[in-house]
Amino acid sequence: MDPLIRLEHIVKVYPPNVVAVDDVSVGFRRGEIHAVVGENGAGKSTLMKILYGLVPRDAGRIFLDSRAVSFRRPAEAIANGIGMVHQEILLVPEYTVWQNIVLGQEPTRWLGRTDVARARKLVRQKIEEFSFSLDTDARVGDISVAARQKVEILKLLYRNVSVLILDEPTAVLTPQEIPQLFGELGRLRDNGHTIIFISHRLDEVLRLTDRITVMRRGKVVGTVQTAGTGKEELARMMVGRDVVLTSRRAPRQPGPPVCEISGLSYADPEGRRRLADIDLTVHAGEIVGVAGVEGNGQLELVNAIIGLIQPTAGQVFVKGLEVTGLPILARRSLISFVSQDRARMGASLGASIMENVIMTHHRLDAHFSQWKGLLLNYPFARRFTDELERKFSVSMASRLAPFSSLSGGNQQKVILGRELLLESPFVLLDQPTRGLDVGSIEYVHGQILRIREENRAILLVSADLEELFLIADRIVVLHRGELVADLPVEKTTMEEVGYRMLEGRARAS
């Protein structure tokens, strides 16, 4: 069968010399759900952005229905029936669902006025045609992330797109919301639509798709029928070796309390309650996982512990010392901190790797001082950077290369290494594996388990339930700023935690 879309010998080099897509040829058939999987940095997103006209290619050809095409911008791709839904959802929150969908292509009456009645009717027709459950008149700012994703898809369907590219659509969804999305995608396929599904979650890919293309380091490793493959084979193709994420957590008796939070509350400047009376203790040698749908107080909890915001009430103690009210530097001698946002909080992308490595150490470790602390001891900083490079097996071109030149996994290794070398008793990790590939996730988990053996206390905030179940000892659930559950990991299930994340209470059985 001749594929609907054929990519031939596509090459993309990001200046100056990062080969993102390396001579890739692949075909997508009409009416199939075709996954493109691979680790982060394997080139899946770049390949799709080339097809969609967002990124110019350096070589290669694209055929649509055996006709050579070339899209200079997404609008041209959409006009040819190819649409893409990005990871970040790009909608106008103040507009209603139908307004967002017709935006830019409104049915008009005379003098160019929007024909509201017809627009709503058209949108409702589309919603019914694909049996999406959506309220046309809800404000996009008020609806859930899953619903916003549907709006994005409908926006493309309204423009009569027959090929949908979805870039990691499940990354923002809770476990309960995923089956619904898959049901909708299945109906779209049965309707004759072609769906290209980018992911690195193998379970989902196996559940949903017809065929799977695996990419590694910019190349296609192979395309397989979903029916004839399994998780182990895909993982092997993705990383080039056997990696199965299994729990390596050995049972362990927790030690004395290290971090004690009592009655912590926070209201934002607009007076909205973000944290309500949180009580939480993390013991030495214990990993406490914080689960919750994004925006339920996780960020505020982390910021209050590290000192970016002042809580309205309550205290945080580390090793018996009250840190609420202390400046950040004083807290940093007790708390190692990996933030969820590498680019904004965890590093300075333009600064050199060395300048990133020595942050915080330069204040806390006397070896970095010369002339009574006036001068920075650069020879020591160089040795220290080399030590981190060795201990955390970072691959870097040179100490003075910009931090941004590192791959995502190596960036996180540098940040994690810097923080763990602080040797603080309490380690605060905010989504430490966000956006990392399987190999790097495995590495980070190994390091977290290692410091657990060193008897440090670890608070791990994660949006990835699987991760929490792999390494945490206890899982607490945040819901609308309240701590609604505190469950030992052996005595609960992913479904139960997921239910509490959504409903804020245990399932009535």
């Binding site: 200046p15 100056p16 070589a59 050579a68 904004r344 300075s348 600064a351 001068l375 920075l376």
Partner: protein, 358 residues
């Protein structure tokens, strides 16, 4: 480093070519004009000495702006800090009459104190009331302008002068020339060296740089970014104040109306052209000074008006700043193309796409 030199040199050449085209359109002979320009600023000991002396206030205010911008403090108060430094040095020079070995350091220090006082006001208003230093330093420039104008017209007015100016400062505070080379150059080089050392080698300089690039990261890393902000404001204020003091001590030896001229704004412009690099600021400062110095000579021997040098400076700024981004991106893209064709040759298949990257 090599790329910076390359894009800078290419920018200068392109700007000179564009300048030549403008002169030709105006009916002047570009080669003769350029010859006259650089004859009066670079060729020969005396022109060179003049160029370097004129570069002193440009470089010092340029360093002030570069360090402030690179540290994330939007100090645009160099004009005000410069005249306040000049005024303080003048006042001290009128009051004190010490031996030169004491008088000169005393005046230099009061000049820096004048600049620090003025930038310190902005830093205080930001810390105490959260007022943006961007707008406050600009407003303080006006206040400094009118304040100095009032001081030299009333309390410190030289009654024998025909226009508002102070009396001359004590002779021991005059900075001597050696063979036409003003000793202000030594102060400028010392200030540049100290600035580099503080910025690149001190712990504080490390924190300033990192705060300038990503202040949230620096803050989470334990840097006291509020204290660093104040320190940067005071340090850069001192540099601008020093520029003012040296102008008085080398030149008219008194505060005359309009003394600040356009030095400080040119300094800010040089910092932008140099992309806030300290070495770049020093080199571009010397280069812009040569264009400004040569303009006078150019007017003398050709009939080209000296204003054409201002056109030339504007073209230089635009071409170098625009060219830095564009040339950098173009070099990157060239390299990417080369890699892509290598890959394709290695793979032995595929044809270039129908569309070329712009």
């Amino acid at each position: 480093m090599r790329r910076k030199t390359l894009t800078g040199a290419a920018g200068i050449v392109i700007a000179l070519v564009i300048g030549a085209l403008i002169m030709m359109a105006e009916g002047f002979h570009p080669l003769a004009t350029y010859q006259a320009l650089f004859q009066f600023s670079l060729f020969g000991l005396s022109p060179l000495a003049t160029t370097i002396r004129n570069s002193v206030p440009l470089v010092l205010t340029g360093l002030s702006a570069s360090i402030a911008f690179a540290s994330g403090a939007v100090n645009l108060g160099q004009p005000g800090q410069l005249v306040m430094g000049a005024l303080c040095a003048t006042a001290a020079g009128l009051v004190l009459n010490l031996p030169a070995g004491l008088e000169i350091p005393a005046l230099v220090i009061t000049a820096m104190a004048g600049g620090v006082l003025w930038s310190g006001c902005a830093a205080f208003l930001r810390r105490a009331f959260g007022m943006s230093e961007f707008i406050v330093t600009l407003m303080l420039n006006m206040i400094a302008d009118f304040f100095t104008a009032w001081v030299i017209a009333f309390p410190l007015l030289d009654p024998h002068a025909y226009s508002p100016m102070t009396r001359a400062i004590s002779r021991s505070g005059w900075l001597p020339d050696f063979g036409g080379f003003s000793t202000t150059i030594l102060f400028m080089l010392a200030a540049a060296a100290v600035s580099w050392f503080v910025f690149q080698r001190w712990k504080a300089g490390y924190e300033w740089r990192l705060s300038g690039q990503n202040s949230l990261f620096a803050r989470l890393g334990g840097c006291d970014i509020d204290r660093n902000f104040v320190a940067v404001m005071l340090f850069t204020g001192a540099l601008a104040g020093l520029a003012g003091g040296l102008v008085v001590m080398a030149g008219p030896h008194r505060f005359i109306k309009g003394l600040g001229g356009n030095y400080a704004w040119d300094g800010v412009m040089i910092a932008i052209v140099a992309n806030n690099g300290l070495v770049g600021t020093l080199l571009y400062g010397l280069f812009f000074s040569s264009v400004q110095t040569g303009a006078l000579g150019m007017e003398l021997i050709t009939n080209v008006p000296s204003e054409i040098s201002e056109v030339l400076q504007a073209v230089l700024v635009l071409v170098i700043v625009a060219g830095r981004k564009y040339l950098g991106a173009a070099l990157d893209r060239l390299e990417a193309r080369r890699r892509a064709s290598e890959r394709r040759a290695a793979a032995g298949g595929g044809q270039a796409g129908g569309r070329a990257a712009p």
